[in-house]
Amino acid sequence: MAVEKMSLVSVSGPLKQVNKVLVRCCETKCFHLEPNYYTLTYGSAQFRTLKDKDIYRHLIKRAEDIAQGLGIEDKTVAYDGITMESKHEFDAYFSSIEEEVGDLISYKGFLDNSIDQYRQALRHIENLSNLDTDFKDIISCKYVKVRFGRMPSDSYTKLEFYSDKAFVFVPLDENDGYVWGVYFAPISTKSETDDIFNGLYFERIRIPDYVTGDGETALADLSHQIAELEEQREEVLKQLSEVKEREYDYFLKVRSKLRFLDSSYEMRNQVSVINNRFHMAGFIPTRNLNAFKENLSSVTDVEVEDKPYFIDDRMKPPTKLRNNWLFRPFEMFVKMYGLPAYNGIDPTPYVAITFMLLYGIMFGDLGQGLVISLLGFILDRWKKVKLAPIMMRIGISSAFFGFLYGSVFGNEELITPFFHSEPFYTLMGQPHNIFQASTYLLVAALVIGVILIIICMILNITISIKRQDYESALFGANGIAGMVFYVSVLVAAALQLVLGIPMFTPLYIIFLIVLPLGIMFFKEPLAHIVSNSVRGNVLQTKKLAVATAAIRTSDRLDENDARMLRKQLDHIESMKNVRAVYGRMPVGAQKKLGYHKNAEYAFVPVSEKDEMVYGVYFTPKSNKAKVDEIFLGLSFERMKMPSELTRYKRTKAAMKQEKTVKEKKSVGNMIVEGFIEMFETCLSYLTNTMSFLRVGGFILSHAGMMLVVNVLAGTEFSAGMILVQILGNLFVIVMEGFIVGIQVLRLEFYELFGRFYVSDGKEFTPLQVNV
């Protein structure tokens, strides 16, 4: 259950090197950039983000034009061996191609346009092809105005109303709710006629000069001219294809590199800049740290600094799961549910094991399991489907359990099932087939469920203790109290029902059932008591405790300094809402603090190391901006508060103060809430356990479905039987295979994950270029 260990790294250097650094970072594929790091640490007033014009954009445009002209498809490839990086180098390469084929590409463009125009004319003329007079003759009429076009069919019916008007409309075709045709009107009534047709939504079509002859002839002419143009286009393409063939591989690589540089250039807006130097920080898997540093060492004047571990508590490290080849594909399910926090536990191995186990039990068939596995292999090999590796694994699990059940494509006579071997045969009442052992199967399913639930409870207790969540660990439904209750009830019920031992004695009930229930009922006040005694530090008095701790642990304060500081702190504390910031600053800078005596703050130096003073400054939140500005000017670098300061034990005064601050909750509320929660908890124990009955149910359903297939196929060997067997098995594999997969996933997410898993992690997303 591993989460990849991370290191926080800062990279800085002269601004002119920023592109190279970004490119290197992308190439390493292991750098998770934290764009807000510097503005969070030093304030947005000091740092600006880099926003400037993209220098590669026009080169990309040229590359696309050339690719379109040469007919090179839109594809991104690996650009190994392409050394060009500056825009001049790209410019020179594209210019050489343009010089050679620029004219041809332009001519091809001209031909494409012409073909489009002719085709459009052809589409129009197709609707006017019933015209039996020469277009040219009609258009050249001197005293009659002619308009070709179309109008909605609704409008055409209205023409009847204008029968007394001086125009003639000749319909030539009707389709898609429009009537195509031509109208003629004497020049003297041209305007009136145009108005009428406008009102009838007549859409005029201009007939190009090159359209001559009657409808049929014009169509034939246009088709012929299009064919001629296409022939010329073919000739041009032939000439271009020689260049394409020669340049194809190299051009693809150059364009891919250019796209990569263009995209990496866009990342500049995530970089912080101050005084003509760029700064960026991010997380790297610790095992890749040296390789990363080595990769960046080729860029001159760039500094890579390995920051102290988790220097800033506001910087949440990303989570990258790390599992072996067997479990890795199941990370998909964990990501689907939500990643664990960086310091959390990776549940992937648990998911992998339980998923394979449950799937195998529910869908056990040697033949079908191997088919699923093979299908997974094929999908993984050729289609890279994410689910495919999981299919390979669960297929094998299914095959293994199929072997135990003695089921090969539903045939239960080829292999002896485990329940026909001793001692199972006798113990299970000599079952002939799986249906006769159904009671045992369902009980076994429940036992599996109980074991898995108990494992989840143990995991929850472990994780909660690690997170100092004592309420959940000790008193929660999935904590120690809950586990004692659950196990006690189950054990007692099992022993009483199976062996007839009377377990529910008053003592048993009081100590192992009622007491845990009572603890769960009063978990809130109990947790509060435990939390207070264990943690020793609570939020409300944290700042005061930190100050006291800082003064006590300081090796740089004499008695006078300490007294002065306490006075300052008392003053600040009385203002409430105090902010404590831990960090470091150069020794010289600390001396300059004397210039800012009027500001409301107190700085407690804790220790000194390598010319740097480590300490905490306290300031009322109302004065935060001003004091932060002062410390920023003195190059104060914010860091995570060390644990020796935060875990300082509270004073009695602090405890008293805390008591007054604590939220008051009425007893009535607590009882009502507790009662409802108790009811829900007890019900969920029962339902969650019963939910595992489906594990046994699916074994029976699989056997039932295969029985149907076998009955349909019959016993007589024939082509029909083979066909029915193949189709039946395919149907069962597809339908039941998916249903079981979904059911197992449901059990994982709902019955198991909900008991222990907290998904509050952030995904590790290395800087990379999307091309």
Partner: protein
Amino acid sequence: MSAGSSAVVAKARCKYGKMLTLSDYRQLAGKSDVSYVVAALKLLPGYKKYFSEVTESSVRRNLAEQLLYKWMIGNYTELCHFKFQQKNGFFRYLLKREEIAQIIKAIMYISAGEHENFILYFPMFLQKYSEVNFMELVKARTFKEVVTFMEGTPYHKVLKPLIPEGALFPEIRMVETVMGHHFHDWLTTIIKKEFHGKEREEIEKCVLHSADIYNMKLCYRLKGIYKMPNEQVMDNHLPYHYRFSERDMKTMLEKSDSEPIEALIRKHPYFRHSKDIENADFETVVAYSNLHFFKDRLMLSQYDSVVLFSLVELMTIELSNLTTIIEGIRYSIPSAEIEKMLII
């Protein structure tokens, strides 16, 4: 409920699901030209069918509006396809309503000597559902000719008493009133004939709600805008009431002699939602009230008649919203202002 009725309910709700959302309206209102609105409508699932063949670059506002109208009637006829077997049944109510609207419009255009314009704007696809031949109707030049032309239709009897003495046409308001009465009489009779029990109760509520709204609008227009005497307003009102009774109406008209009538109407429980749009005009407030009333009916009712009636009302609101957008864009109104005018 029969399987056919369940299918109509499901389909109607499905059509409602395809209706425009706030983000769709925002997107459309943000367009700079009607052609872009049409191009956007072509991509929307509910409108694709009606706009796919239109050339957006040359489309005009009138055509766009006609297509939207076709969308509404088309959706309705699709849903009622199997219900049309019964001639003059309830499920033809929208076609009847639109037929009446076109007759009133035709009389209006003829009386103004603009019969050609009526033909230009007449939605020709309605002709196949109508027993009145509108192409022939507009050839009439006097009201008497119109009435004569209507012989053999139910409208002859309705319009005949209006033939004026000494004038070519009666007041158009009077035509509207008698036709409105005729439509509601027909609708209520047909509901009583075709529906029973809970379904009749629900559909009657919908129709009476519409009658209430009609009467309120009447009060607002005739009394508020045209300053007509109370008796004349009462003469024109629809004698169907749900939560706005005849007595309420009389009291309100009396009160309105000393107070603005719009404020009085707005106090009615129908407009409780209008608090959110206090500055909106009266027509908007009415549409807003309809939106709430019929949205609830569409979602909650089990009866196809009620669901269909509600869908028509909601489609009418959507149609009006789209017309607002198109008009707004045409007059270069900022999108934020257009948005304020929409009934959402």
